[in-house]
């Protein structure tokens, strides 16, 4: 028998799989978050220059990473649906958007509360902060546009174009601290060089980032199931499932 991954592009095939995966990702997210919080508050030392206020980065950095990463995944699924007309792809993009918007808001909020003690201001219109704010508006625009169009196929198509055009903002956010003279500091963690922080701080941040990742998968899958239920309400397979339940 050959295993066909594309089978799962059909909502009725993916629906039960998503249902089985959600509890696993939720539990892993919870365990990683607890371990991350323990390291963040009880293992990681006080920062020499920023004092205790730096402990905000344990949520700020993972939230900011997720906000950008989820946008790319969302735009990827939207683009995939636009190209291949797969039914599930547009729903996948819709399922990710609110979680992405939530993490973007958290990144902005925690950034403001970190900025006050560290820079002396909650907000400045520098390139990093402004482009992250635009990311929030892109998420909200994507959600609003899709909910404004009644026909789901057309909504998916319009949303996909918005998501793909907006994707250009993600590298702008990421490289803004190098391209412009920003108040926001440069990256402390990068793939090309050693991180400029204590090992325990890095471990705490990575644990929290992994937790955020697992949480995002669980939340997106749960929302995907809700969207499938709403959109495929009148199909035979869901009717049978309702009858069986």
């Amino acid at each position: 028998m050959n295993f066909d991954l594309f089978r799962f592009a059909a909502p009725q095939a993916f629906f039960p799989v998503a249902g089985k995966l959600i509890p696993w990702f939720s539990v892993i997210a919870g365990v990683l978050a607890l371990a991350g919080l323990y390291v963040a508050f009880f293992v990681a030392p006080t920062d020499a220059t920023q004092g205790e206020a730096y402990r905000i980065i344990f949520i700020h950095v993972p939230a900011a990473w997720m906000s950008m990463f989820l946008y790319l995944v969302m735009a990827g699924w939207a683009g995939f649906g636009l190209a291949f007309h797969t039914r599930l792809s547009g729903m996948m993009a819709s399922a990710i958007a609110p979680t992405g918007a939530m993490f973007t808001f958290v990144a902005l909020w925690t950034g403001a509360l970190w900025g006050k003690p560290t820079w002396g201001t909650y907000w400045v219109w520098d390139a990093r902060l402004t482009s992250e704010l635009i990311l929030l508006f892109l998420y909200l625009g994507f959600i609003a546009l899709k909910s404004a169009i009644a026909d789901p196929v057309r909504a998916d198509r319009a949303g996909a174009i918005l998501a793909l055009v907006g994707a250009v903002n993600v590298p702008i956010i990421y490289f803004s601290v190098q391209w412009w003279n920003t108040l926001h500091q440069g990256a402390s963690v990068s793939l090309t060089r050693a991180p400029s922080m204590a090992a325990t701080m890095l471990i705490g941040m990575l644990l929290m980032a992994l937790a955020a990742w697992m949480y995002s998968i669980a939340a997106s899958l749960a929302r995907l199931r809700a969207i499938i239920r709403e959109r495929e309400r009148d199909t035979e397979w869901l009717r049978m499932q309702r009858a069986a339940a």
């Binding site: 205790e52 206020a53 402990r55 949520i59 958290v106 509360l113 939340a219 809700a226």
Partner: protein, 43 residues
């Protein structure tokens, strides 16, 4: 162990408002998302 007492832990070196304001709002956001997801799944 970094903290001598619960008070020191809550004070966060004078930045309790900023640290707990960040963590509190993040937890609230997560709670709200899960709450609305649950509601949407139920209906």
């Amino acid at each position: 162990m970094t903290w001598g007492s619960l008070d020191a832990f809550l004070a966060m070196g004078g930045h309790g408002f900023h640290v707990w304001g960040s963590y509190g709002v993040t937890i609230l956001c997560l709670f709200l998302e899960v709450f609305f997801l649950h509601k949407r799944t139920k209906s």
